[in-house]
Amino acid sequence: MEDFSATGADRSQVPPALAMTAPTVKTAAGSIAGAATKVSARDVNVFYGDKQALFDVSIDIPDRAVTAFIGPSGCGKTTFLRCINRMNDTIDGCKVTGTLQIEGKDAYGKNVDPVVLRTRVGMVFQKPNPFPKSIYENVAYGPRIHGMAKSKADMDVVVEKSLKRAGLWEEVKDRLLQPGTGLSGGQQQRLVIARTVAVNPDIILMDEPCSALDPIATAKIEELIDELRGNYTIIIVTHSMAQAARVSQKTAFFHMGKLVETGPTEEIFTNPRDSRTQDYITGRFG
C-alpha cells in the first residue's frame, strides 16, 4: 500500500462517506485465528424480483488472505461476491437485505457512494476485459479519473508499479503504447489485475479469473494471487476445487443460495463438517 502514497492516493479521503460505526464481529464460525476481519456479512439476503437468490448469509472474510467461494452453478457465490462491491445495485429489481460491513462500516449506508466504494473493492472477471486502449492507458485510466496522479511522471510511476505488482511489467515494458487487446489471454488477465490494483483497492474480488486461461497462464495468475495476498484481501469465486485448495486460506461452500459451511481451506478439503460440502468436493453431486 505504501508504494502508492506518493501518487496522491490518500486513503482517508476515500471512505468518509462510510459514516456508520459498528463494531466488527470477529467471533463467527470459520474465522481464521489471528486474522483481522475485513468484510463481515450478517444475514445477507438477495432477491432478484420475487426470486430469492441468497438466504441469510453470514461470514467473516479475513484481511490479507485469500478466501475462496465454491459451489455448484447457481448456488449464489457470484451473487454474494457482487454484494461486496455493490455490483448488484446495477441490476433492476435486485434487493439486498441484512448487513455487510467493510472494516466495520456499513457498505450499504445511506451516505456511501458505490463508485467510491468500488475503488476500494476492485473486481476481476471471468473473461479478461481490457479497454480498447493502450496497455499504459488501461492501467492509467482508474488513477486518472480518480485524480490519483498529479503529473505524467506520477502516472508513469503508478503504471509501472501496478504492472510490476501484476507480474506483467517485464513482458510489456517495451510496448506500453500498444493495444491491451493484443496481449495473450493470460497477459490480458494480468493487465486487468494491474488496472485493478492501480486505484489502490483494499479488496480484490475475482470471479473465476482463470476459467478462460490455459494451465500455464492459470499458474501465473495463481502465483500472482499468492503474492498479492500480502497486501490485499482477496476473494475468489472458482469452479475448480483444486484451484480453491491451492490458492485460498479460507473456503466457503455455497449451495442453493445458502452458505453451508466455511472454514480454513485445509479443513474443508480434508474433513468437511457438512455432508453437502463433502458430497460436492468429492464429486458426488454438483
Binding site: 476445487m241 485448495a245 480434508t270 463433502q278 458430497d279 468436493i281 468429492t282 458426488r284 453431486f285
Partner: protein, 227 residues
C-alpha cells in the same frame, strides 16, 4: 455414502480398500502360521511363511501403485483422500507385520532344532492375543467400525503386559539354566516381534479412527512399560 458422479472413481476406491483387506488376510495368516510353526515345531510351515512374505510385499506395492494413480488422476478430497491415505498407511503397517511374522518363522526353524522349552506356551498365549488384536483391527477396517477400532487401540496394553511378564520369565529361565540361553533369546525376540505386531495393530486402529472421523485420536494411549 452416495456414489461418485464418475462411477469409476468409486470403483477404484472400493478396489484399493479391498486390496488392503486382502493384504490384511495375508499378514494375519502369516502371523498365525508362524506361531503354529513355533508351537508345533513345524519346520515346513515355517519355511512356507518365509516364502509367502513376498506376496505381502507385492500387495503393498500394488496398493501404493493404486494410491499413486488415484492421487494423480482423481485428486481425492475429504473422505476420499482419507480412504486413499489410510490404505497407503495400513499397507505400510501390514508389510511390517509380514516381516515380523517372517522373522518369527525364521526363529522357529532354529528353535525346532534345539531342545523344546516350556516357555513356548507363554509365547503362544501372547501370540494368540497379538493375532486376535490384529484380526479385530482388520475386521474394524473392513466394517468401518469406529467403536471396534477404538477398543483395539485400548487393548494394546494387554499385549504389553504379557510381553513384560514373558520377559521376566525368560530372564529367570536363562539365569537358572545357561544352556537354554540361545533358545530363550530367540523366544525373547519372538515375544518382542509379537509386541511390535500389537503396536502395528494399534497404529492401524489410529488410522481407522482418522479414516472415519477425519481426526487423530486425541489422547495418549495408556500403555504398560514395554521397552
Amino acid at each position: 455414502m452416495a456414489e461418485h458422479t464418475v462411477k469409476a472413481f468409486s470403483e477404484e476406491l472400493d478396489a484399493i480398500t479391498q486390496e488392503v483387506a486382502r493384504m490384511g488376510g495375508l499378514a494375519e495368516a502369516a502371523v498365525n502360521d508362524a506361531l503354529s510353526a513355533v508351537a508345533r515345531r513345524d519346520t515346513e510351515l515355517a519355511q512356507q511363511v518365509m516364502q509367502r512374505d513376498a506376496k505381502i510385499d507385492a500387495a503393498q506395492r500394488e496398493i501404493e501403485r493404486r494410491a499413486i494413480k488415484l492421487f494423480a488422476l482423481r485428486q481425492p478430497m475429504a473422505s476420499d483422500l482419507r480412504v486413499v491415505l489410510t490404505a497407503w498407511r495400513i499397507a505400510g503397517e501390514l508389510e511390517r507385520v509380514g516381516d515380523l511374522a517372517k522373522n518369527i518363522a525364521k526363529r522357529a526353524l532354529i528353535l525346532n532344532q534345539a531342545e523344546p522349552i516350556q516357555l513356548t506356551r507363554s509365547a503362544e498365549r501372547m501370540g494368540k492375543i497379538a493375532a486376535q488384536h490384529l484380526k479385530q483391527v482388520l475386521d474394524a477396517y473392513a466394517n468401518k467400525d469406529l467403536q471396534a477400532a477404538t477398543a483395539v487401540w485400548h487393548g494394546d496394553d494387554n499385549i504389553d503386559a504379557h510381553y513384560n511378564s514373558l520377559f521376566r520369565e525368560l530372564l529367570t529361565y536363562m539365569i537358572e539354566d545357561p544352556r537354554m540361553i540361545s533358545s530363550c533369546a530367540h523366544l525373547l525376540f519372538i515375544a518382542k516381534n509379537l509386541e511390535r505386531i500389537g503396536d502395528h495393530g494399534t497404529n492401524i486402529a489410529e488410522y481407522i479412527h482418522f479414516l472415519i472421523t477425519g481426526e487423530e485420536i486425541a489422547t495418549q494411549r495408556p500403555r504398560a512399560d514395554a521397552d
